[in-house]
Amino acid sequence: MGKHDVAIVGIGQTKHRSKRRDVNIPEMIYEAVRMALDDAQLMPADIDAVIIGNMDHFEGINFSEMWCGIDAAPGYLKPVVKVATGGTTGSSLAICGYHNVASGIYNKVLIIGWEKLQEGGATTGIITAFDPVWERPSLAGALGPLALMASMYQHKYGITPEQAARVTVKNRRNAANNPFAHLKMPNLTVEDVMKSQTISYPLRLHDCCPQSEGACAVIYANEEETRNITDNPAWIQAVETAHYYTYGTDEAMFDLPTATIASKKAYKKVGITDPVKDLDVAEIYEPTSWSELAWTEALGFCKFGEGGKLLDEGITQMSGELPVNPSGGVLSTNPIGATALIRVAEAAIQVMGRGEKRQVPDVEKALGMGFGGSLWTEIMILSKERNL
């Protein structure tokens, strides 16, 4: 690990919605930033550097760090850096912030992820991220490839659409306990999901994440600064990144090898041998209901092909041995540049014991996962104790 221990000491996020027509981009980001500063009881001058991220083509603006890092965050006359890595933008921001503090370069860093998807469109924006000669003609944003994944996964392991539907039901019911979540559906049933329109076989509408508008801000501090700020931080114990081939479809994607590789390395660092027993909660990046089942396998929560069984046994439910996505996950809230940072922030909230109605009891260790790009995975493990 780095020269310094690093903790999350302040968290802010907007109430995510499908449209935020009352505010422009920097005004929306400011809400999350203000909340994070107030949470850590820090002054703007206390922040050494700002790291901000979104995907340019989603809103049609370039160089947003220039004005959003200054007008929405305390970045004036300070280093402001932009990070954009697709779906993993938020976790890349989180990992980039970690390195900046762990290395001793800065003492306190503000991390911001945001997206305002109704200003443009995620599907259209995603297509522009791919190869113009080979991929743009047929690519249908993220959901088309995720549908291919689901069809392969279904074929190989016999996972049923009802099992996938139960993921949406679990996550959107969890979202009802999260005041920041976008889609809160406390009464959603498997039948509702099964009856929703098929938008890309086998994906039904309710199998898919929404497009949200929102921002998330997180403040990191080194061990010395953390002592002065809070007696209830979330310590970062492991960060891991694994990237993949050039084209999104170079490999069959449902078993997400990057998640297996990144999580194994992270578990080793923290001394985790059985993630279901050793972790207390996981916030994972599930763009579709099918992907949560597949990702729980790739992360080693169960054997390959047993994601459906893991869910059916109730292990990933709020009352289970390893609750997955108490916040409602990506199926409930998806402002893309913020989405993976929300996973980290929600994992930190669980470690701090501040989840209120969505709190899992006695969380010592939590996992946050980012997914995106060309099947990339990023992992962060947080803990209550500084020394494990």
Binding site: G121, A140, S151
Partner: protein
């Protein structure tokens, strides 16, 4: 959330990006599309170290970090490993319009290839598709040397075939793929910008906001004083007259210019404001402009809720 509430008047700026670009395809792709156009043949690239065959062809084997200079001729048949029918509307950034849907979309392995690839399939009924089905590329009669020459793959009933012989890439000319990115956007301007623009159009008044901490007045207004990081709520009217801080005279013409050159634009500090705005100067000989000169706003007769509702500034 009620739809009616969403439809309440919100000041939005709409525009459509239309960016032409030239993308250098790389020599293996150039050779691929030449063979596709002239001979209706598909090729992949083969790693000289591990022997892995890639489709689409590319210059480097990611596993070995070794350059690939060999193309291998491929069969135009393969096996379906995943499929979907895309049945949702979205803007295709290649055209700026909706991409026609539904369309069949498959992931398959061409025979003898080690990677997967995706493309259109000519079937929109998912119940007629199964993993393991055989597919074959369909070629256009008149080909242009791009991926559109294979409009789709069709389902067939042939068995898989063995690998073909490999061959070296010939020397080829440089070639670019010419494309466009066309995307529509709606940008929510926010309450501060809306009030600013509305006051200009309705009352010919220029409004700023004042920082409660440092007292700085911002024109155009914004929510946060970046110096103090304070939220600003106090509106103040500033003068429609001010001083030129700096200027330039535009003398060359490009399609994105708002006016025919020569014309001048300047950084202007309005009396009562502490910031500068950029705007056009007219009714003046560009040669006579100098820093410090006094100017005043000329308002548009028929405002259109744009910053150009201040049509230009003129010397006084």
């Amino acid at each position: 959330m009620s739809r009616g509430k969403d439809k309440e008047k919100v000041f939005q700026i709409k525009w459509k990006t239309d960016l032409p670009y030239r993308y250098s395809m790389g020599k293996l792709s150039v050779q691929f599309f030449k063979e596709l156009k002239e001979n209706k043949k598909l090729h992949g690239s083969k790693c000289p170290q591990c022997g892995k065959v890639y489709f689409p062809p590319r210059a480097v084997c990611a596993d070995c970090m070794v350059e690939m200079t060999r193309l291998i001729e491929l069969y135009d048949t393969g096996t379906l490993v995943g499929f979907t029918v895309v049945n949702y509307p979205f803007v295709d950034p290649q055209t700026g319009g909706l991409r026609p849907f539904p369309y069949g979309y498959g992931l398959f392995k061409l025979d003898g290839v080690d990677t997967y690839t995706m493309h259109f399939i000519d079937e929109v009924d998912h119940t007629k598709l199964r993993v393991g089905m055989r597919v074959k590329a369909v070629f256009k009669e008149v080909r242009e040397g791009n991926l559109g020459d294979i409009p789709y793959y069709k389902i067939i009933r042939e068995k898989p075939k063995p690998k073909k012989v490999e061959k070296m890439v010939e020397d080829i000319e440089e070639k670019v793929f010419r494309g466009r990115i066309k995307v529509p956007y709606k940008h929510v301007a926010g309450a501060y910008v809306e009030k600013f623009i509305t006051e200009i159009g309705k009352n010919n008044k220029i409004m700023g906001v004042k920082c409660p901490k440092c007292g700085k007045v911002y024109v155009p207004p914004k929510m946060i004083c970046f110096n103090c990081f304070e939220k600003m709520d106090e509106w103040v009217e500033v003068s429609n007259q001010g001083s030129v801080k700096g200027f330039t005279v535009v003398s060359h013409s490009t399609p994105v210019m708002p006016l025919e050159p020569p014309f001048a634009y300047a950084l202007i500090t309005l009396d009562g404001s502490n910031t500068e705005i950029v705007h056009i100067i007219k009714e003046s000989d560009p040669k006579k402009l100098k820093p410090g000169m006094r100017v005043e706003a000329v308002f548009k007769d028929k405002p259109r809720k744009r910053i150009t509702d201040i049509e230009y500034f003129r010397p006084i």
